[in-house]
Amino acid sequence: MKEILELNLPQNVLYTKDHEWMDTTGNTMRIGINDYAQDQLGEIVYVELPQIGACLNKGDVFGTVESVKAVSEVFMPVSGEVIQVNTDLENAPELVSSSPYEKGWMIEIKASNPDEVKTMMDREAYLKFLEGIK
């Protein structure tokens, strides 16, 4: 397990309390699980993602991640429509562990209520939140 200082938490994405990240810089928003989540889960062996076109609300389960320890659900950071899913994860779920923010991204969405982005945390706020639960 990594210590908080050892975690890779990029500045350019936002975070949720359930340890998802979201990149809000493009037209669509890219979502995945962050370094803390993949480290806690252990080696990931299977990722299940939604259908393209699925419309989900903030907090809805959009997929499941199975590791050698347990099966966990992943949640929508904001409401939106699924535009793209990372099909590479079907055959290479380990990308979530080895490259959580690049090759291990999970879905891209078109946010239906961009204001909800304000409920997410930046790196500093997320680090504070992590210190509280560690």
Binding site: M1, Q40, G42, E43, I44, V45, Y46, E66, V68, K69, A70, P93, E94
Partner: protein, 485 residues
């Protein structure tokens, strides 16, 4: 600890069956026959199976050698939490192998099956007596199928009352199969958290229970190893809103002859014969998850039911409200024979004593090991106790490393990373069958492992070192399973 029971014996290397096979080798021969040889009809010839060609001795040696790499309850302590891996007394096997039982065919008419029907009827009565419930079905073939049976009864009951409901309350200390079983029946499981003592509170249940909620599924004792002390109050709340209470009895081994499940307010309860009643488990044999209900839910039980009239037993399908059939024929009968043998050999007093010893043993381990391992909920437990790897964080030793190292000491690892509500959980259930000496050896092994975790952590990271195969790549096995040669 100077000497462990684990050592190196003569353990054979063994290739895959596909590497042993040789074209044309065969393990059986046709008897002499008075009809000419004829080839199989084309449509019966499969090309996709690609099985290796093997002789009988190839197969026997292969599996015997593999079995020597294995570890079972007959070889040593198996402290899996939440799964009650207790020793299976051999008298159970002897009884189950009596030809009258072992050779009975499920299509025999009931007039020729009176013995086995009586046995099943009596087992139902025994289970009703042990739980204080009224009616029992033996059909479900595992705990999870028992839960499914219970949820189907929930649905049938509410439908009969004219008000189908949509939700079920499932605590985060329930077995993981509980929400799955509820979902299979079309219910939406609603999670509920425990308090700082590791148990449910009536207030939390009252806040969620409404008239669209079919009821609650409670594992009692729960998966943290604690008795749900508020169960009566919780049942009252659920009943007052017209709901039902389902008891997951997977942890019944802690409370046999001690807790009256009917008085707790349980309407339906499943038992695991392969846990509490010492029948073989997992790869050792099929399971059985009988379901017990209160009298008023009896009409919904699966058919056929076993009926007794003037000492004659028969099977009846005449239950119009029944949820139907759950299993081919009558369930896993061989397991029922073993369970009744166990219950009758033990008797009521000894079953109670078994539970008392199971609880005593778990508390003994908890008190001894809490000096070295982190114990998230420090209070009297039932038949199992849950530690975590928090104390080992500085050297980055995990629960998995400690579990693997335990193999080098000749013990099966405990349940790890469950329940999910404890980070790095290690759940230990010694059961009543281990002697104090054996439990002391286990404790000494754990103490040494904890010490190694601080001073020689690499010993743990590289464990196990003494068994046939070293640490397996579990992730690779799950990602790219190779099931053929």
């Amino acid at each position: 600890m100077t000497e462990t029971s684990a050592t190196r014996g003569l353990i054979f290397n063994e290739p895959l069956l596909w590497e042993i096979g040789k074209k044309g080798r065969i393990g059986f021969s046709m008897p002499e026959h008075d009809v000419p040889d004829a080839p199989l009809d084309k449509e019966f010839i499969r090309k996709d199976s690609e099985l290796p060609d093997l002789s009988e001795v190839n197969v026997i040696r292969h599996f015997t050698r593999l079995s020597q790499w294995n570890f079972g309850i007959d070889a040593g302590m198996y402290p899996l939490g939440s799964c009650t891996m207790k020793y299976n007394p051999k008298v159970n096997e002897r009884v189950a192998l009596l030809p009258g039982f072992a050779e009975a065919h499920p299509l025999l008419p009931t007039s020729l099956s009176q013995g086995i029907l009586r046995l099943m009827f009596e087992l139902e009565r025994c289970l009703a007596a042990i739980t204080s419930m009224d009616a029992v079905t033996l059909q479900p073939s595992a705990g999870a199928q028992g839960e499914l049976c219970g949820m189907l009864i929930f649905r049938a009951y509410h439908r009969k009352k004219g008000k189908p409901r949509s939700k079920i309350i499932v605590p985060n200390t329930a077995h993981g199969t509980n929400p799955s079983s509820a979902t299979l029946c079309g219910y939406k499981p609603v999670g509920i958290s425990i308090n700082e003592k590791g148990i449910l509170t009536p207030d939390a249940v009252a806040a969620l229970m409404d008239e669209d909620t079919a009821g609650i599924m409670v594992t009692n004792p729960n998966t943290l190893g604690f008795f749900e002390e508020n169960i009566q109050k919780i049942s009252e709340i659920v009943h007052s809103k017209g709901g039902l209470v389902y008891g997951d009895g997977a942890n019944m081994n802690a409370v046999m002859g001690i807790v009256d499940m009917a008085a707790c307010g349980m309407d339906i309860l499943h038992l695991n014969l392969h846990k509490t009643f010492s029948t073989p488990h997992g790869g050792g044999g099929p399971g059985a998850g009988p379901v017990c209900t209160k009298k008023y839910l009896e009409p919904f039980l699966p058919v056929p039911r076993i009926i007794e009239e003037k000492g004659v037993f028969s099977l009846s399908n005449d239950f119009p409200d029944s949820i139907g059939k759950l299993h081919a024929f009558y369930g896993n009968v061989g397991i029922m024979i073993r369970a009744l043998a166990y219950i009758l050999c033990m008797g009521g007093e000894n079953l109670k004593k078994a539970s008392q010893l199971a609880v005593l043993n778990a508390n003994y381990i908890k008190e001894k090991l809490k000096k070295v391992l982190h114990l998230p909920y420090d209070r009297t437990c039932m038949h199992e106790c849950v530690f975590s790897d928090k104390n080992q964080n500085p050297t980055k030793i995990t629960t998995l490393d400690m579990a693997k190292r335990l193999i080098d000491f000749g013990f099966h690892p405990p349940t790890i990373y469950f329940p999910l509500i404890v980070k790095g959980a290690m759940m230990i259930e010694p059961t009543e069958t281990e002697s104090k000496e054996e439990i002391d050896r286990f404790i000494a092994a754990m103490e040494q492992i904890v010490e190694e975790a601080t001073n020689q952590p690499d010993l743990l990271r590289n464990a196990p070192m003494k068994c046939k195969v070293r640490r397996l790549d579990e992730a690779q096995a799950a990602r790219k399973p190779c099931l053929a040669g």
